[in-house]
């Protein structure tokens, strides 16, 4: 409602981002600690194993966790420096109310009763669904499950959605349509058995760094790498075949590859016959998708498309990997299905070295998307519109069907409805939509229209600054639970420290609100393990079946791959989680023996026809604009933009453009440029590199405010998954005027403050120079 009550400078001094450099107690504490605790990194879907060093209830450093099978000690810079988010000067330590004069410290009782009163007032006045909840999948499985139950039973609203909507939903929907289940098809060890690896729309080196080693292990055994991306990202640099496709043209490339595979008789007819349906339609859909046709759309020479198709089609084993590049489009689901069509047509699925996997981006992007966190979903990846699914969950929760809300609207649609004035109140946790949703100016307007907004967060993120009540929550290392890595491996997160100050564990806050709303009887949990045990029961019989997994078994086996269903007669019918059995070993590889998860047991081909992206370049906006990540930052940067050594690696977003375009626009590296789209403009510095297509510019999206790439992107959504089209927009670029440059410099200046009191001899200036090089 009100504007943030501070000047930007004042705000920065109090709430950051402050660049934090040294562990509590200085670097000597790195070798002086009380305990080494096994847990996982929280900064991407790979969930690397890591050991945290603990002293005096603070995390003081890390040690590689060599025994965790996924990464065997390997880490990217985020994992190494993640411990610096603890003991951080910006940490929210007590509940606050925002007033016209600034943030006022209040008690938990005041904060929670005000939140609850507002929820009740708004719902009484405008109806239950006028109060929405937004959540995120950096939360553990336990918390994700709890949020799903909390929104439906405590808030009693249908309008719950999550930030996986910006991440995993295209893959999820595509996987479900093709295979009847939503998970990466194989554990990563299978990548090393592939003879060809086709990578499309994922900057593996920067977004999923550990996966590079799996790919190199395959290459060491002779695998060929085909890499399709508008930029020659670090892994594409050494690829056997590089396909510089134009952003948004993925499905044309994929259709054409399938065309060649069919034309040249490289399909696996026996597999298609025995294990799939719908191939006829797909065959017809790609009949005219010749390489020449696709070359005109994609900019990839026809000969290279033929080569890629033949390498993939002829190889004995093959793996397809993709991520947001292909999924962040209005054709996200179609693109995923096109990949599935390739895998199914060649029978390259459900065997060692054969599979089709999306690489999960967010920390718990896999687990968090399975247990009722989405507006259309119930635990176990059940469908909230399916009467049988509803019946089962009602039984687990002890409610009637009338008490269970129906399908709600998706994340961006919630912001749209707030903007329209239909949704009046919001509670959010683990979501920074002002940075992460497209068309930031629109979303800022929306947040300012809310009658009430309460946020649970540990730092005052760009979005949290719009909240009326701020409830200080917990970091990953302050709360115990499980997450599920991109492989589908359910793993254990440990909590070596407790939340500082008056901050509380997220789940305790939710339970308290539920209690105050008079719904406490549905939330009788004493700890997160009890939540997990209810989750086991609730997921039983769903596609994402966790019922055979226990915390103890996870610890003993270094992680269990779901589905992990019941094996005993009692386990299959009991309504008490303590009677569930834990005998099933888990499922590292899906679809073995051609068994798929649709009711007919088959995989389904889905015909895809070519269509253009929502916005295409024209005379007014002649340049393709696309976005992505850098290795040192995570998502909206709410955490990583506060970690000094990570910020120093890549302090500000830069516009990547090709020397040819730069020459035409008279732009040199480090010049200030203005990028404009129909939504807004951004002024940043240029980086002239020949590793990008000459008709495309790229900007990383981790920054907020005036440095936000999402000032430029559009709210166009995939019709099925409702994922926004971050990866394809039209823009224009020019040198910034002197006034614009001054504004850009001021924005950089205001983007963070360096921590005071650095250890003696730290020599920050030198270190920065080294890291930035």
């Amino acid at each position: 409602m009100v504007k943030p009550p501070f000047s930007q400078e004042e705000f920065l001094d109090t709430y950051g981002p402050t660049l934090h450099y040294a562990p509590p107690g200085g670097f000597s504490s790195v070798e002086d600690y009380d305990a080494l605790v096994d847990t996982h990194c929280c900064f991407c879907g790979q969930q690397c194993g890591i050991k945290l060093k603990v002293k005096n209830n603070a995390i003081v450093g890390f040690e590689p966790r060599y025994d965790f099978p996924f990464n065997k000690g390997k880490l990217c810079p985020k994992g190494i420096k993640r411990y610096l988010q603890g003991s951080h000067p910006d940490r929210l330590l007590h509940p606050m109310r925002r007033t016209e004069h600034g943030y006022q410290q209040i008690t938990w009782d005041e904060a929670l009763s005000e939140t609850v009163t507002k929820i009740q007032e708004i719902q009484a006045k405008y109806g239950r669904n006028s109060f929405a909840m937004l959540s995120g999948v950096s939360l553990t499985n336990e918390k994700s499950y709890l949020v799903g139950k909390f929104a439906r039973l405590a808030l009693q609203t249908a309008n719950l959605d999550y930030n996986g909507r910006l991440c995993m939903v295209s893959a999820g929907a595509g996987n479900k349509k093709a295979y009847g289940i939503d998970r990466a098809s194989n554990h990563w060890e299978d990548i090393t058995e592939a003879k060809v690896i086709f990578i499309i729309g994922t900057n593996i080196a920067e977004c999923f760094p550990i996966t590079t080693d799996y790919i190199w292990r395959a290459r060491d055994k002779g695998a060929k790498i085909i890499y399709a991306d508008p930029r020659m990202v670090p892994m594409a640099r050494t690829a056997d075949l590089y396909l510089p496709l134009r952003c948004g043209s993925d499905s044309a490339l994929l259709m054409s590859m399938l065309h060649v595979i069919i034309r040249d008789g490289l399909t696996d007819e026996a597999f298609i016959e025995a294990h799939t349906t719908g191939f006829g339609d797909v065959r017809a859909a790609v009949a005219d998708a010749t390489p020449k046709w696709a070359a005109e759309i994609t900019g990839v020479p026809a000969a290279k498309i033929e080569q890629a198709a033949r390498w993939y089609g002829e190889a004995e084993t093959g793996m397809i990997l993709h991520a947001r590049g292909l999924e962040h489009q209005v054709k996200g689901v179609e693109n995923v299905m096109s990949c599935a069509n390739l895998a199914l047509a060649t029978g390259k699925i459900g065997k060692p070295g054969c599979g089709h996997s999306t690489i999960t981006g967010q920390g718990n992007g896999q687990g968090g998307r399975e247990h009722g966190h989405k507006c259309d979903q119930l635990p176990g990846n059940r469908d909230i519109t399916n009467p049988e699914h509803r019946k089962y969950i009602c039984e687990v929760w002890g409610i009637t069907d009338e008490e269970l809300p129906g399908k709600g609207i998706t994340a961006q649609e919630i912001l749209n409805e707030i903007h329209e004035g239909k949704i009046k109140g919001l509670l959010s946790i683990c979501f920074n939509p002002l940075v992460s949703l497209p068309d930031a100016n629109f979303n800022r307007e929306a947040l300012n229209k809310l009658e009430h907004y309460s946020v649970i967060d540990f730092f005052l993120s760009e979005t949290a600054q719009h909240a009326d009540i701020v409830l200080p929550g917990s970091l990953q290392e302050e709360d115990e639970g499980t997450t599920t890595s991109g492989e589908g491996r359910v793993i254990k997160i440990n909590a070596p420290v407790t939340p500082p100050g008056e901050a509380r564990r997220d789940w305790e806050i939710l339970l308290d609100i539920a209690g105050r709303l008079g719904r406490g009887k549905y939330f009788q949990f004493n700890n997160t393990q009890e939540i997990f045990n209810e989750l086991r029961l609730a997921s039983r019989g769903g596609t994402a079946d966790y019922s055979g997994i226990t915390w103890e078994k996870i610890v003993d086996t270094q992680g269990i791959f779901w589905p992990c269903p019941q094996t005993t007669d009692e386990g299959k019918v009991t309504m008490h989680s303590e009677h569930l059995d834990d005998r099933h070993p888990g499922t590292p590889r899906l679809y073995e023996g051609g068994k798929f998860y649709h009711p007919d047991g088959k995989a389904h081909f889905n015909a895809v026809n070519w269509r253009e992206s929502a916005e295409v370049v024209d005379d007014e906006y002649p340049i393709w604009f696309t976005t992505g990540r850098v290795v040192s930052q995570y998502l909206s940067g709410s955490q990583t933009r506060r970690i000094g050594p990570l910020v120093d690696q890549f302090p500000h977003p830069k516009l990547e453009l090709h020397p040819r375009m730069a020459k035409q626009l008279k732009i040199k590296t480090d010049d200030w440029v203005t990028i404009q789209t129909r939504r807004g403009e951004v002024i940043i510095q240029a980086n002239v590199v020949n590793t990008i297509r000459p008709d495309t510019v790229f900007m990383a999206y981790h920054w907020g405010g005036k440095q936000s790439a999402n000032l430029l992107t559009q709210r166009a959504l995939d019709p099925i998954s409702k994922i926004p089209e971050y990866k394809v927009s039209a823009c224009r670029v020019r040198l910034a005027s002197p006034e614009e440059q001054a504004e850009g410099e001021r924005t950089q200046f205001l983007s963070s403050r360096t921590e005071k009191n650095l250890p003696a001899g730290y020599n920050l200036a030198e270190r920065r120079k080294e890291l930035r090089r």
Binding site: K74, A205, Q664, K668, P759
Partner: protein, 220 residues
Amino acid sequence: MSDFRFFVDPIRCIGCKACMQACSECDTHKGKSMIHLEYIERGASTQTAPMVCMHCDLPTCAAVCPADAIKRTEDGVVQSSQAPRCIGCSNCVNACPFGVPRYYPEIDQMLKCDMCYDRTSVGKKPMCASVCPSEALFYGTLEEFQSRRGGKPQNSFQFGAQTITTKVFLVLPDGEMGLDMDVISHMDARFEPDAFDHLDPFAHLELLPMEQPQTLRGRL
């Protein structure tokens, strides 16, 4: 333990700087990284090159040190300078053929990679080679390396008349790596591959004729 060797394979390096961040965690050089990473030329490529101390069998740095501050252990690790002895003269900095040692004025001392002697001397892997996500830095035996991976490990280098053998291996790619980093050269004829010389990225370029209406033409 002396069977263990350190391998640097720049082709696999993804420029993530995990190695630098991990090295900087060591409490002996608090926040400073002893491994250095350079972009070969960011404008032209994403290729990066990590550089650790090569741990020469006959270390030039130690040979030129007037204060005898640089020791080589029996298992072949060339140590960082010893604080009480180092006089900060930077002879080593200038003499090292690989450009490894650095002088830190704030402590008036040379520091360099000591292959994490605190770790490697007790059988643990060095920090940078532990974390490197793509095994561009690899710590293990030569047999292990050769049984698992391609590339030609080399630990003998020629600098003018001087032949230097090292504990650390540099891995050269098998055969030719035909790496053309300019995206244009991978595109179709509309993008005229020959129009661009990536050695001189800013020298030459004309407006590009394109066929499709939704291209750069018109505006640019």
